[in-house]
Amino acid sequence: MTSDAPRGVDAPPELVQLLTPEGERVEHPDYDIELTDEEVRSLYRDLVLVRRIDLEAVALQRQGELGIWASLLGQEAAQIGSGRALTDADMAFPTYREHGVAWCRDVDPVRLLGLFRGVNHGGWDPAEHNFHLYTIVIGSQTLHAVGYAMGMQRDGGEAATIVYFGDGATSQGDVNESFIWASVFNAPVVFFCQNNQWAISEPLEKQTRIPLYKRASGFGFPGVRVDGNDVFACLAVTRKALQNAREGQGPTLIEAFTYRMGAHTTSDDPTRYRVADELEAWKLKDPIERLKAYLFKNQIADQEYFDKIDAEADALGKDVRRRCLELPDPEPEALFKHVYAAPHALLDEERDQYLTYLAGFER
């Protein structure tokens, strides 16, 4: 089954695309989008800035300042397109790679770095941003999202939940259970699968024999495959799916067909399992380059604008680096905090004994 041929390079015919890799705007019978020039420039800025944050995080890991980092390189359009489709009232459940969605939800990038640096396991208030904590166990968050959507359903009002996961996660029981739950309860949830072709070293064909978006029909709701490197298409398709969910039409599975241009994490070495040609072919589909070409060709932005965004990105990278290095290590007492909401006698006793023990070294 497994071959070493480049994967996902020839875009399948059923892909929703509004912007070609060459930066040409194309029509689609079911999806369209109207954006002002300012909105298009803003999307470009998002893409560039999150790539820059990601680049800085990889560098910080290489310099020993982060324990690990899961790069989003290549998946910026999928994340910014879907993330910008959300309203404030919508709720997002990420994996551990959704740095672009976090950006759209105004989560300070340094909070994300804190997790990978090891100062905490999360550390932002999900309710403040309507952006849940990163979930590391693959696929677990899909059930949380469906439960949350069922809560929205009971509360009434105009809101939907979106949940992110990858191609590997589609093999998890929890993801399949979440499809069933969402379907039978008609939950207002959008399943946003970033098919980046690789689950660490395992190619897509280790997870599925059919295109992932087609799984939805077996569960009784629509599935759609979108060009995950096309920020316009990702925005249009996600907007529509969210609106359907808010209007009581139930869940949608979106398969964003994209590519993990970097390693799975900084601990990974993709040269051991995939061919270099594949990356080179996908570089031609780069989500930022195609939008830049579109902006340039249509005279929506000029070189001065691009230079300005690059300068902003560099400043952001420096700022993120500085504040990451300034993150204080937690005090030992933090071990015992927030394990329970209410006091827990045995834990309090352990804490007191341990702090007394530690204090013995200070004399």
Binding site: G123, V137, L143, D155, E177, V184
Partner: protein, 324 residues
Amino acid sequence: MTTLTLAKALNEGLRRSMEDDPKVLVMGEDVGRLGGVFRVTDGLHKDFGEDRVIDTPLAESGIIGTAIGLALRGYRPVCEIQFDGFVFPAADQIITQLAKMPLRSLGALKLPVVVRIPCGGGIGAVEHHSESPEAYFTHTAGLRVVACSNPADGYSMIQEAIRSDDPIIFFEPKRRYWDKAEVDLAAPGLPLDRARITRPGADLTLLAYGPMVKTCLEAAAAAEEDGRDIEVVDLRSLNPLDMGVVAESVTRTGRCVVVHEAPVFTGFGAELAARITEQCFYHLESPVLRVGGFSTPYPPSRLEEYYLPDLDRVLDAVDRAFTY
């Protein structure tokens, strides 16, 4: 005072909680129209509707995972796992998510989810319907683990568990579901994390919880005929453990036997024995002895009377404690 079975007392407690707080939901397999396979949720679907009493698909991980999501949205789900041996598909959601999310959020998130699990054997059931998985959960930081043993506690403990902002694994001794007792529906219950001296005594302490409390009370009554004054402590809460009551009792009696249905090896009794040894060493007249299941999977029902601790095995351990 009203006479209720344990199942009905739990049902009344659930009903009271649902009346008091519109955010309380009941969810699980067959909890709706059927009222649960043990009828603990009987009538709730009719009175509170399907939005609050949710018959779920048959997938335990899904039950707990979606309950977490509902809790994140501000609801207080009470999940029923139909039988003890079916909790394992949900173990991942319970251990990696439910127990750890409050810490992950640095306290920003609270997860008031109750996981009700009918537990223990003695009902002549097929495999996976008679187990005592409490130690898996007491070993998981972030969870509170409690076990009720009688109708009055069932009524008050379920309500207090639902009010708790922490996730709670709530064990119900299924073979005691049909036992009746007087319940004062107006009386405030003992706090959830407190143990109770159910029968005072001076010579030896029997420590038990859930289904074995009744067995220990019967053993204590039988021992009285031999002139032994046995104290029975119902732990009620396993995590946190009320060591104050335990240590006071064993310090006073000097002897202790722990009784549970779960296998003795690395069972909850091991934790009790270790803590009692640490805290009551100079007061002990004998080592802490344990009576429980063997190091075998739960047996076919025709063998369970040999597997489950009964009055005679408890008394045998009591006798041994007095040989030191």
